[in-house]
Amino acid sequence: MIARHRTRAIAGLAFAALTAASSIVLAQPEDDPVAEYRAMMGDDNPAEFWVMRGEALWSEPRGPASVSLEQCDLGMGPGVVKGAYAHLPRYFADAGQVMDLETRLLHCMVTLQGIPRKEALKQRFGDGARESDFEALAAFVAEESRGQVLDVPLDNPAMEKAYALGKEMFFYRAGTHDFSCATCHGQTGMRIRLQQLPNISEAEGARAAYSGWPAYRVSQGEVRTMQWRLQDCFRQQRLPQLDFGSQASIALTTYIAHNANGAVMDAPGMKR
């Protein structure tokens, strides 16, 4: 049975190679119809405004404790921001869990500045009328790792577990439409409407997808973080709302980041 299945898969492979080759020839002129648009957008990225605000927020005494985030340990020692984002998510012994950038920022707001968790989470996403500290701080911290090589090793059991869980979630199909993350992001060279879809299950696609986040979303006029990106993906998957900083969100980010290892960080980027 299994052998027969394999044979069919191999026949499928040969056929796939043929169709892929011919579809490339056909698709060439329209390979990336929006390339001209993206080229014209250039590097004038309004995310700079979030970076500036984040930098100011980082050193401003805030919260009931009236202290800044300058003693926040992003994994490279208290107060070290340079390069820190290129090594997140990681396991933090002081919290006993794997954390991504946003959950670590939240942790520092709560433990250092004494801001109640619920209070801090109120403005997890900005909406024009109300700015988000997370989005500004994440933009600033990410900017400080621009040009660095992403290195997120699975160097302890917690990271291994997070990665395995993230991977399972990536392929988890559910909801009215049977979608998983892999439905859109598990194949190479596909697009939805005109948007190229990076294949996040392998290195090249994961690097392309991950290295530019957080990003200024042109459609929203806001800088969005990976936490937002994941939440919005699940909304489009027709699933309930992914909680900010939830175990699932960190696990998925760990899966994507580890797959993207070796990426040259280029965040905050600019996306559709």
């Binding site: 299994i2 056929f15 399972e168 988890y172 009215t176 939805i192 027709r238 309930p240 709302q241 699932a248």
Partner: protein, 208 residues
């Protein structure tokens, strides 16, 4: 029809090929399911029950480097999904291609942010090329441009097309395409309208 099915099957097999260079997981989704329950909150029309998997979803959630579907599982999915298809009682498959085009363009419906009183779309253009005039089409699914012109508009093709939209997994287990009829995303009339978009000689899909 047979040939069309084989083609779809082969493309589907190709889609599921890419492998991951990391350790495989056990084939169970129990770990993920528990974490999911703790990591999500019901919102709008998207309740927590949306996280529960049916048999097909469970079987189709394996990573590409995990165990492949066995012949038996493959056949079981096809049989159960084929049995789910409710063909129109009036025996008519062709609706209004103009309404079908609107359904093909509309990607709304069933999201936590969507108004549940509005009728939902099929969002066909997200994954397929259809009418030539719409350049913003996706490539996750095969091009359906000239679908009716190439296949003809006989009763068997109409019935197959209706069934494929109703439940893609009856023909290709673990297809990326939603099971529009089976999951209640589109109603009978909407599926007929999309069939017309694909097969009606007047439809822009069949205009060169």
């Amino acid at each position: 029809m047979n040939r069309a099915f084989t083609l779809a099957g082969l493309i589907g097999a190709a889609i599921m090929l890419p492998a991951l260079a990391s350790a495989g997981l056990a084939g169970t989704n129990d770990g993920a399911a528990a974490v999911l329950q703790q990591s999500f909150t019901a919102k709008g029309q998207a309740g927590m029950d949306r996280l529960d998997q049916d048999d097909v979803q469970r079987l189709c959630s394996r990573a590409p480097d995990g165990p492949a579907l066995s012949e038996k599982e493959y056949a079981e999915i096809m049989a159960s999904e084929e049995a789910s298809i409710r063909y129109p009682a009036d025996g008519q498959y062709l609706g209004d291609w103009r309404a079908g085009e609107k359904i093909a363009q509309n990607g709304k419906g069933f999201q936590s942010s969507d108004d549940p009183t509005q009728s939902s779309g099929g969002n066909c253009y997200a994954c397929h090329q259809l009418a030539k005039g719409e350049v913003a089409y996706g490539t996750i699914g095969p091009s359906l441009y000239l679908y009716g012109k190439l296949r003809g508009n006989d009763a068997e093709t109409q019935r197959y097309t209706y069934a494929k939209i109703y439940n893609s997994n009856a023909f290709l287990p673990c297809s990326s395409m939603p099971r529009f009829g089976h999951k209640g995303i589109l109603d009978e009339q909407q599926i007929k309208d999309v069939v017309a978009l694909l097969l009606d000689p007047q439809s822009p899909v069949n205009a060169e």
